[in-house]
């Protein structure tokens, strides 16, 4: 009969119309109320009818692998050994694999010796070029650059704030752990510990080696912590930035080093950091 097809279609539309209210009745007209915990069901595979996300009152949280603009992982700011230390070693792989070439890295060098050190002096990402492809995070051998989930970046002006610098890019390690717990754990597993492994490649070729090294490092770290707690009062703060640069003894793997050398290393790093900061302040 003519018109039957039309009628069928209209009935379908009617069904959709009714379905969009059926859910409301199920939740007692409180479907979108924050008290009712039905977000997961509403967005899942078992619902029919309206599935609107009431942005900004409720937001779809992003899955772990979601990628928006990248950020740099740094050690937590309250970390005792390396507060805020960059995980980035400025090896430049991210800049090389970046398809639209939106990453600029200035490799850091030691202010005294002039030799390159594994730490970026500056790091820029032009988010007006970035295509959110995630290659930088995927190919970073140090797990130091990750894709952020924060998509709320709209701004009124792009010339001043769309080139992200190191300061803006740096986020703590715990931020990444929070964003992607599963992946962070997997990566830590491969690295052999939550800490950043800035060792020579040969040192952690196998997992066993890395693990034993980690165990050793953990005990050492505990010792250092205990000693530091004891010596906290005696240590004058000024000694960090004044005086000659303390140089650690090279040629040994970190877990083979004595505590003093480790401590010296740390002080040296802090001094170098202070010198660089002063330099930046002048320029």
């Amino acid at each position: 009969m003519n018109g039957q097809g039309l009628l069928k279609g209209m009935l379908l539309t009617l069904r959709h119309f009714v379905e969009s209210y059926a859910d409301d009745i199920k939740y007692g007209f409180k479907k979108f109320s924050p008290d009712v915990d039905n977000f997961e069901t509403r967005q899942g595979t078992q619902t029919r009818g309206v599935f609107t996300v009431q942005y900004p009152d409720e937001k779809l949280a992003m899955p772990e692998r979601f990628r928006f603009v990248p950020f740099l992982v740094v050690e937590d700011w309250d970390d005792e050994l390396n507060p805020g230390k960059d995980w980035c070693t400025s090896c430049g792989i991210c800049a090389k694999v970046c398809p639209p070439q939106c990453i600029w890295i200035v490799r850091g060098d030691d202010p005294v010796t002039g030799r390159p050190i594994p730490e970026p002096e500056a790091f820029f990402i032009d988010i007006d070029i970035c295509m959110n492809c995630g290659f930088c995070a995927e190919y970073c051998p140090f797990d130091a650059i990750k894709m952020d989930h924060d998509y709320e970046l709209a701004s009124y002006d792009r010339t001043t704030n769309h080139v992200f610098d190191k300061e803006k890019l740096s986020k703590e390690q715990r931020y990444w752990k929070n964003l992607a717990p599963t992946r962070a754990a997997e990566e830590a597993d491969v690295r052999g510990g939550w800490e950043h492994k800035n060792f020579k490649k040969s040192w952690n070729t196998t997992k066993e080696q890395a693990q034993s090294a980690q165990a050793e490092k953990d005990t050492k770290r505990d010792e250092v912590r205990a000693r530091k707690a004891a010596a906290a009062d005696e240590k004058p703060a000024a000694s960090v930035s004044d005086g000659p640069i303390i140089v650690g003894q090279p040629g040994k793997a970190p877990w083979e080093e004595s505590e003093e050398i480790r401590e010296k290393r740390r002080l040296g790093a802090l001094q170098r950091k202070a010198i660089r900061a002063a330099k930046r302040g002048d320029g």
Partner: protein, 627 residues
């Protein structure tokens, strides 16, 4: 095909080698083997190119010209000692099988090649594109024009010696990024602060826009309005411009029509409004860099684009000693993703086609509901809703996560957490089939849809092949040509599915083909599910290449059946001694682009309102049309 004699039939179904041998026998002076390392096919003397092509088509059965493109061998130095431009053609048989590649070389300064439009009409737009980007002139081409850029543009940008205003270096990665990378904006390179450069001999006294008037050439603009008489009624012919901003052109597409009353007399599609230099950028990129760029071709089914590209490059990489092909699980995952994006693609195609013929937005809203859930899946697996960037050389980006879990980060974030396999199973077994049922209930028997689409925009079987159309457009015209069957790749040979075909060749047939294909895709997906379970312990990423992979010298053409049709990638690795990290040539055989070739012919005699529907039924995406 009826009065075919036995030896002819043999020739038409014989192997590619037989065909080449026969060709060399027939044209001993003109045809020679392409002996360059890594290359295949034959080189044809351009003087006899058309005869050879005619013979290929008529006697050897290569009725389908898939791709026609050019390569600029300027200073290549390895394969060739002289600088020349080379036309590369890929011809297929619609009965299946692999390609016969033939090439014609021409001088760079005086680049002229006979046009193959008299043989295959499908060469029309492709040759125009080559003329536009490489500056090769085609003799006897009916309408040679700048198809992507505008008339008056300086130079031919795909030539190797043509540099962009923001030109930085010949190949990525650029040296300025590391280790001394002080950030700069490319705008600082030009004093205009814009992405422009003007030739030294710019004539400032005559700065008028000639691009528009050129477009209307042949349409009688500027002449007196042509009077037409119909049954004693005198009317005028009218030139109507549609686009590039028009709600029904699926983006920034433009058509110029000559109307006689409501009927279309002439129609010329005009594109290039989204020409974002995909191929030029692709030649600067490394092999790996191009993967996310392919996402942005047909941005509705990015998984399929990835697949075609990695297949093409894997052909080259397979010559590497240490090359390992993708694991079985990687192949399964690839097919899973590709078939899902085919469903998404067809849902959009049908939805927007309905927009065009008057069912504004309601059906699309129903389809988007399912699409959103599939996007959720893509987002959780690949990291992005649309720009999946999922495939890698020798594998995929990552295996399926155990759970599709989100984490709260921003204020008011609501977390979801589903079991991946359960989510997939429910989608494949319940939701998507139900949506397609709904879609059929809504449309298949709908009288308005039928009246608007049956008998409209007819493309005959012969024309469909001749115009090199692909995908649902080709299969809607009665040609059972699906690359998944005709030239199988990945794990398709072991999967059970049918090729959807309709014989009518009108809009309704294309709609039916799409619906049928979605059902076949679900059939495939249902076969994928047990394979996912079966391979659960296998690694999908074990054989992934590294970021520095270099491709051995040679050429490769990889093609897949994407939602819109045959998506092909022609890649050339050249210009270096052993292996290259950047493609010398990276060409995309875009189905959306080539499927537009018969638009003018299909629209002739139709009403204006039908033209919109015909365009919708071809299903184009401008990112791919213009690249």
């Amino acid at each position: 095909m009826v009065d075919m004699t036995a030896p002819d039939l043999d020739l038409k179904t014989g192997s590619i080698d037989d065909a080449i041998a026969n060709l060399k026998e027939k044209f001993p002076d003109a045809v020679s083997d392409d002996t360059r390392a890594g290359y295949g096919g034959v080189i044809v003397d351009k003087g006899q190119l058309r005869e050879v092509a005619q013979y290929l088509k008529q006697n050897l059965g290569f009725d389908y010209l898939s791709s026609a493109t050019a390569v600029d061998y300027l200073g290549e130095g390895q394969h060739t000692t002289d600088d020349h431009l080379e036309m590369v053609y890929h011809a297929y048989r619609t009965s299946g099988g692999s390609a016969l590649v033939f090439k014609a070389q021409t001088d760079r300064d005086d680049a002229v090649v006979p046009s193959l439009v008299p043989v295959w009409k499908g060469a029309d737009f492709q040759e125009s594109e080559v003329y536009d980007l490489f500056g090769i002139k085609f003799t006897d081409h009916p309408n040679l024009r700048r198809i992507l850029l505008w008339d008056g543009f300086h130079g031919h940008p795909m030539r190797k010696d043509w540099k962009e205003p923001y030109y930085e270096e010949e190949a990525k990665p650029f040296g300025s990024r590391w280790p001394g990378g002080q950030v700069h904006r490319a705008e600082e390179k030009t004093i205009f602060g814009k992405n422009v450069q003007y030739p030294a001999d710019i004539d400032l006294s005559r700065l008028t826009d000639i691009s528009e008037s050129k477009l209307y050439e042949g349409f009688g603009m500027g002449v007196d309005v042509q009077k037409v008489t119909h049954d004693g009624v005198e009317t005028d012919q009218l030139i109507v411009n549609m686009g590039p901003h028009h709600p029904s052109t699926h983006g920034v597409f433009r058509m110029i029509m000559r109307l006689d009353g409501e009927s279309v007399r002439d129609l010329e599609p005009i594109m290039g409004y989204l020409h974002r230099n995909h191929e030029k950028i692709g030649e600067r990129n490394t092999w790996l860099h191009n993967i996310p760029f392919t996402d942005r071709l047909d941005y509705i089914s990015s998984m399929g684009n990835n697949h075609g590209y990695v297949l093409a490059v894997e052909q080259l990489l397979a010559h590497n000693k240490r090359w390992k092909p993708p694991t079985y699980r990687a192949e399964v995952l690839r097919v899973l993703m590709v078939e899902m994006s085919r469903i998404i693609n067809h849902l959009w195609a049908i939805g927007f086609w309905l927009n065009d013929i008057g069912a504004f937005f309601t059906p699309v809203l129903y389809f988007i509901e399912e699409r959103e859930r599939m996007m959720d899946f893509f987002e959780a697996v690949a990291g992005s809703r649309m720009m999946c960037n999922y495939m890698r050389f020798g594998g995929v980006f990552a295996d399926l996560p155990e759970r599709l879990r989100s984490t709260a980060n921003l204020m008011n974030d609501r977390v979801r957490d589903y079991n991946t396999m359960q989510f997939l199973t429910e989608m494949i077994n319940e939701r998507i089939p139900r949506t397609i049922d709904d879609l059929e209930e809504l449309l298949t028997e709908n009288e308005i849809v039928k009246v608007r689409s049956i008998g409209v925009g007819i493309l005959s079987k012969e024309d469909a092949i001749n115009y090199s159309t692909a995908g649902p457009l080709l299969r809607g015209s009665g040609v059972a040509y699906d690359i998944r069957r005709a030239d199988p790749y990945s794990i398709y040979p072991e999967l059970d599915f049918d090729v959807a075909v309709r014989n009518e060749g009108d809009m309704y047939a294309r709609y039916s083909v799409r619906v049928q294909e979605m059902r076949e895709s679900i059939r495939i997906l249902k076969q994928i599910l047990p394979r996912l379970e079966y391979t659960a312990n296998e690694s999908a990423t074990a054989n992934n290449g590294s970021h520095g992979d270099k491709a051995p010298l040679g050429e490769a053409y990889g093609r897949v059946e994407n939602g819109k049709g045959e998506l092909g990638y022609y890649v050339v690795s050249a210009g270096n001694k052993r292996a290259t990290s950047n493609p010398w040539r990276y060409h995309v055989r875009a189905p959306s682009f080539i499927n537009l070739t018969p638009l003018g012919a299909m629209s002739e005699g139709m009403k204006v309102a039908d033209v919109v529907g015909i365009l919708g039924s071809i299903d184009i995406v401008l990112g791919e049309t213009d690249r």
